[in-house]
Symmetry: C2
Subunit: 466 residues, 2 copies
């Protein structure tokens, strides 16, 4: 059945799998309230209670046996998450009870919800647009302050408003073209044509700028990996400690984190910095060859930034110099950014000679893990390296979703074509075709022109019960 015609009753466990104090089973669809009512023994029939009220009672099997004491919340259409009749059953946590309640609901004719189907229905019923629906999944998976903020902005319609703004501009241009201009005929005022080109250029620039924010969106979502290395006793642990004390990130575990390397998560102005402390490097060319430091090498290869701790109170020996040169060969090959942290600045008079020739991706700075000197500057540099030209005062509407980015890029391609056609003075009919194609791509982002298969693909990536 086409997605937009479905209104059967669906059910799913909405809370994470496992044992906890509470689990919630969600039911939505035309028959949701009546169905749950037939399985609920409380003071009042659920069909008679007002929307948005909570009721204590016993939840029963189809055979009338008590499963659990529950709290049931009733949401009447259209004032629910999905816009449909909805019920949320809050029972004692534990998989046995939770499954048993779900089975009871299914036994009365509900069907197991597909992943994301509640949110799909919310979208289809006009409770939210497509970018807002996608924001729900992004919110759930948010692991950092900034990605949380970006998802929330998207949920409140931020991305849609930007896209709608682009669409409005393009629709205005279309009207202009249709009503006033026909470049294929003679005698057309050049100023008007230039006007249109200028308006189109502005829109292209705006869309491109918005597309660029996807780069930030990704860094803000996934964080940036900084590998800390250096000779033993250069002060790596002290740096880790001082950073953690000030900035330990609230973050849930990131899948794929290896356990045999110490990885700590810092939050620097909301940016997730995944700081990996390596075993340290040796004073030889061994860095690549030795199996025992294979892991360090692997970490260095996948680092966005390599921070090299150096004890600046010691003279740099020829061996040291060779060591850092070998490190730079690795980092340059991988195009990593390198910061040499000249530690123990409190002990030196800063006449320490650091004479490695550095490229534009490489820099040095004095710090003291003892006094804290230079630490704020180091953090600021990490932030600037990860998010160059990021203006925290500007709009918090960042693209996080690759689908959106791709659609914007396709729209820009079509607009570039339209601009070329305009500049060449061809018929406005040709221009209009490309403008309409661009409008369609923009419409796909917010769900106006999105085909069912793309919708299904989007929502299949959601959690069950959302």
């Amino acid at each position: 059945m086409p997605l937009r015609e479905r209104n059967d009753t669906i059910a799913a466990v909405a809370t994470p799998v496992g044992e906890g104090g509470i689990a919630v089973i969600r039911v939505s669809g035309g028959n949701a309230v009546a169905l749950c009512d037939s399985l609920f023994a409380g003071k009042k029939p659920l069909l008679d209670v007002p929307s948005h009220t909570v009721h204590h009672g016993r939840f029963l099997t189809g055979g009338g046996e008590t499963i659990d004491e529950v709290l049931v919340s009733v949401f009447r259409a259209p004032h629910s998450y999905t816009g449909e009749e909805s019920v949320e059953i809050s029972c004692h946590g534990g998989m046995f009870i939770t499954n048993k309640i779900l089975y009871a609901v299914l036994s009365k004719g509900a069907r197991t919800a597909d992943p994301g189907e509640f949110t799909l229905r919310a979208f289809l019923n006009g409770k939210m647009d497509l970018t807002q629906a996608e924001a729900v999944a992004a919110l759930i998976h948010a692991k950092t302050e900034k990605s949380h903020a970006a998802s929330l902005a998207q949920l409140s319609g931020g991305v849609t408003r930007r896209v709608e703004h682009f669409r409005t501009n393009l629709i205005d241009l279309c009207s202009l073209l249709e009503l006033e201009l026909d470049f294929s005929q003679e005698g057309v005022e050049l100023t008007k044509r230039d006007d249109v080109i200028e308006k189109l250029d502005n829109t292209i620039t705006d869309i491109k700028k918005f597309t660029t924010s996807y780069l930030y969106g990704r860094v803000l979502r996934d964080g940036v990996k900084v590998v800390l290395t250096g000779k033993p006793n250069a002060g790596k642990s002290s740096l880790l400690n001082i950073l953690l004390q000030q900035n330990r990130a609230i973050v849930s575990e990131i899948p794929g984190t290896t356990r045999d390397v110490i990885e700590e998560n810092l939050s620097i102005n909301g940016l997730l910095v995944r700081l990996v402390d390596t075993a340290g490097i040796r004073q030889s060319e061994d860095i690549i060859e030795e199996e025992s430091i294979r892991r360090t090498h692997e970490e260095l290869e996948s680092a966005s930034v390599i921070a090299v701790m150096i004890d600046s109170s010691e003279m740099m020996t020829k061996n040291d110099s060779e060591l850092y040169h070998s490190l730079l060969r690795v980092s340059r090959k991988n195009k990593s950014i390198v910061i040499f942290l000249l530690n123990k600045s409190d002990l030196t008079n800063r006449e320490f000679s650091f004479d490695l020739p550095l490229t534009e991706n490489e820099s040095q700075m004095f710090i003291s893990c003892l006094t804290g000197d230079g630490i704020p500057e180091f953090k600021q540099r990490l932030f600037k390296i990860s998010l160059p030209n990021y203006d925290s005062g500007s709009s918090s509407i960042l693209l996080q979703n690759e689908r959106h980015k791709v659609a914007l890029e396709k729209a820009v391609e079509k607009l570039d074509l339209a601009r070329q056609t305009l500049a060449n003075g061809l018929s406005s009919d040709f221009v209009a075709v490309d403008l309409r194609a661009a409008l369609d791509y923009l419409g796909e982002i917010i769900g106006i022109t999105t085909p069912d298969d793309i919708l299904q693909n989007i929502f299949s990536k959601f959690c069950i019960g959302k």
Copy 2:
């Protein structure tokens, strides 16, 4: 502060840890509604809404930034789970958001709830007695139909009613002793003394009988392990299939289940049967020696019941006979119960000769995995072996909790002493001391005389957020 004087506001995430559609943060205590109100931006102030209503809005940090769109349910004292002012915040699942909302609540002066502290408060506020509170934890951990039913019966006060009944009888006895009898003086009517002794005996018998139900309670809670073995091609897989088709148990994963042995869970009249299919045994004495079947041997050792499949359409060879003898040596050493399943009864005229001398723990029965003959009898035998003398029609109030069992046993000890004193005709003062001690033990079960440290111990085993 003594437990009974605490009324500060506590908060915890009540849903399991992980990513899901919904997470719920629970807040309870004098200031719960006001506190959440200060972090909630909705249509109405939460302090103004009726109890048991649900409200959509934005939940904020202490600094006023939006964390998420949430549904907030308000429960006003005393009409809440804890009996206190309570709020449940239902937010988008995902640990980042969930933790952030919890931190916001804590930043406004709430404290993280100890494990089980919501239920502890429900107990202290008279919303439930101690066995009901313990039933909450048991319900969450229930893995089988019967243990679920027993927990539910306990939640609805079943255990308490039994214990209260014992207590009432004993209190009556105490009154009798104090008002009418003094056995240390002469001239006491012997019939009255015999009356008291008879009444005491009855109570002791009742308590002992109830204590015995703990054995059933444990089997019903944890299930019974049946190891299926036999020669290759005797029909083990067919038996497994036929049982699974009819009786696959709804059960959540049981910790400790090994993954390299096939274990399937069946439900036979609500009894969890954990059926382990072993690799099969060989026709030699190898059973104990060979490393490759070490695992089978381990399983046999930990089995409650060993089911040995035999192809009854084949002649039993001398080798077979030796094999089964060696198996019996293992089972007798471990005091397991053994059932020889003579399969393919459809193919034989039942003149198959099975001539192993069997003890009372060992039996044989004909089955056919093809026609299903004998399968119901096999299941019935498994049930009877696991729960001898179990009367499904009798009270479903089963002891599941070891603390209850121990307290009942201690009470019986004291009652036995009292009975001896009575029979010896000693002063009723002595009798009364023991009766009161027994009453205290019974009171501990339902929470009347339970000291704070025992309470804390009980609730510390709960989930966080319950």
